[in-house]
Symmetry: none
């Protein structure tokens, strides 16, 4: 069932405001069984106060047991079934560095590699070449010239960079050139369908010229291309929900994901405080606000329990500025769990909180993983958050008579 078939038909407009306040990687784990998670350890008076008047639940980002990346995690929150809408690796990588893909572009994730005298790969990551060395090489590859094609090359980090091809008749169904092993040469780019033949030819020419430009380099004298993909075709928030939506994020990846669903990227905030200022300044201009806080995830990824607790408290402390705006619907959640005990994204359900008039408050008294199990939203797939948001904002009409 395509949820958007329903929301397209049923949505109505009004003056309500919806805020989705996302702590990346919010869900966690205790340091020992029976202990408290990062969120439960943190002193979060504002979240706890909202828990008393709102309704809680546990959001399953994709399906039980599935640990999502940032792409599927956010698509779920935005109400786009992450199993239906896939963002290709190349497109996600381009999105992550703030590259604005256009319809018809093909984005490719590229790795520098080391080739031996015979042209076989001796190191698939070019000795994990540091960014200071690799970035100028990526820029150098901008000298590749292919007739009728605009070629963009953007450095990322260490051995990674992004290539975007822009031109007529390009399609993204091309196989990776990374053979996944050393001792063999990179594969040629092979089209997976007839429509992608031109892309494969262009990629081949790109590789040829790039290798010439890299000749003489010690570590990064070759490259592999992966995750060829076009701009994902995502219907917009305006179309499927009738919402004029703004994203207030610091990191390019989350701005990019929000842009893919048609949100405006507002402000240039670098801190949570600045994000709140941007929210206040834009309050009258939008129906929906997505506010992204990164550091609950990055501290979790670092395996730093105490730091994640502290970042959670910072996230909580900014809430009064949202409350002061009196949103009609406020949702607090994460795109997935990042338990510092695992130092990685995980499959665990994500604590979620929805506050609205008539949200049917449950008996929960604080915001945390265990308390959320008693919540009125139960366990639900993240993709339903948007129908719940719209319903609570009185923006969804009745289904059937």
């Amino acid at each position: 069932m395509d949820l958007h078939r329903l929301t397209r038909e049923l949505h109505v407009k009004n003056n309500s405001k919806i805020v989705m306040y996302v702590a990346d990687g919010l869900g966690g784990l205790p340091q020992q069984p029976g202990g408290k998670t990062e969120l439960e350890t943190a002193n979060t008076p504002n979240l706890d106060a909202l828990a008393k008047i709102g309704v809680l639940g546990s959001s399953i980002p994709v399906l039980p047991g599935i640990s999502p990346g940032s792409g599927p995690g956010h698509l779920g929150l935005f109400g786009y079934d992450p199993l239906q809408y896939m963002i290709g690796r190349g497109a996600l990588e381009a999105t992550g560095i703030g590259f604005e893909l256009k319809e018809g572009d093909v984005a490719i994730r590229a790795n520098f590699c080391t080739l031996d005298a015979k042209g076989n790969i001796s190191d698939r990551r070019a000795g994990r070449i540091p960014t200071e060395e690799s970035a100028p090489l990526a820029v150098k590859l901008r000298n590749v010239k292919i007739a009728g094609i605009e070629v963009f090359v953007e450095p990322v980090k260490e051995h990674r960079f992004v290539v975007v091809l822009r031109g007529e008749g390009l399609q993204g169904n091309v196989h990776d050139t990374d053979p996944q092993v050393t001792g063999v040469p990179p594969l040629d780019p092979h089209p997976a369908d007839d429509q992608s033949k031109k892309t494969a030819d262009v990629a081949k020419e790109f590789i040829r010229q790039a290798c010439q430009l890299l000749a003489g380099e010690k570590k990064a004298n070759g490259l592999t291309l992966r995750g060829f993909s076009g701009k994902p075709a995502l219907p917009s928030y305006e179309e499927v929900y009738g919402l004029k939506a703004a994203a207030i994020a610091v990191y390019p990846m989350y701005k990019g994901l929000a842009r893919l669903v048609g949100m405006d990227i507002v402000g240039k905030a670098q801190t949570l405080g600045e994000q709140m200022t941007v929210l206040e300044e834009n309050w009258s201009k939008y129906d929906f606000f997505f506010i992204h806080f990164k550091y609950t995830d990055s501290t979790g990824e670092d395996g730093n329990f105490a730091a994640k607790v502290k970042r959670t408290e910072e996230f909580d402390a900014a809430l009064p500025r949202i409350n002061a705006l009196k949103p009609d619907v406020l949702i607090v959640t994460g795109d997935h769990s990042t338990p510092s005990m695992l130092a990685s994204h995980s499959w665990h359900p994500v604590p979620t909180l929805l506050v609205a008039n008539n949200c049917r408050t449950d008996s929960c008294q604080s915001f945390g993983e265990t308390e959320c199990l008693r919540g009125g939203l139960g366990q639900f797939e993240a993709k339903y958050l948007m129908t719940l948001a719209l319903a609570n904002a009185k923006r969804l009409g009745k289904f059937g008579a």
Copy 2:
């Protein structure tokens, strides 16, 4: 996944009796956050006693956030995925007034409207003409004669009436003639596919003759047609569940919905007490009984909290007569929530109770929205109630070896 593929294959017959006792719009909201809902406020000793020995849960009528009309609400309870089985507007309206649609009929929801001297619509609802005036006009339209077609015209309420066309080769894919605005003439009925061309022609002729019959009327001198639809193709309870089913309802809409899934409409009860008598009288003749109580919904729609509480107590008070019959499975639920705080159908999950030997009782002590959150059925889509009913009645065999 079509649930009926499973139930068709797995159902077995035995002498068990299943009762589904439905309080329309049962779910509610407290008058202030943290307060009690209508059901929690009501004195319901019989429901509470069942809650202690049964298993509770929260039923999601369609999907989280979706507020259903009566059609999808009941289809869900009956185990028919409300997103898979849609009932057209015209068919539902005909059903709602007790018109028994036959295979091949096309039902249309019609509105009287006011046309100005140029034939443009000046009032899309004919000045909300009162039923006393509109009903005789609808009856007058029975004088329309179309060769080879039986035309039924049934008054509904105020400006609304129902037209049913019966004859060979009619299909329901015809666009509405209501232009949705005033100052323009009604649209012609246009077929959306070739198979519906004849229906469009017949409708055009109906409109021509109807306008002649209405000529001279001040308010209702024109009409628009909407929601052309055939009888929905719903497999029967007998076929998908192996159940001989009876519906005991007071209002035509619910009798009609039950008839669409092949239930027999038994008795002519006008009160809940009379419904219980009908139940007793028919106890030996059926496997499954659907008992519908309307007033928890209508008081909710009226926004009358106290009246809904009272009606809930009335619903509760009738339970001993059901209990006395010792059904093997008793389900108590609603087709959706109708919180008096919203005075409308809503998306909130519906308190649900199932009692049967071996139902695996949970620790719940009373029947109410908050208590149901702790229940053993969890939160579940309404469409699964029938598989749960069959299982608890030992009417479902093992799936796979």
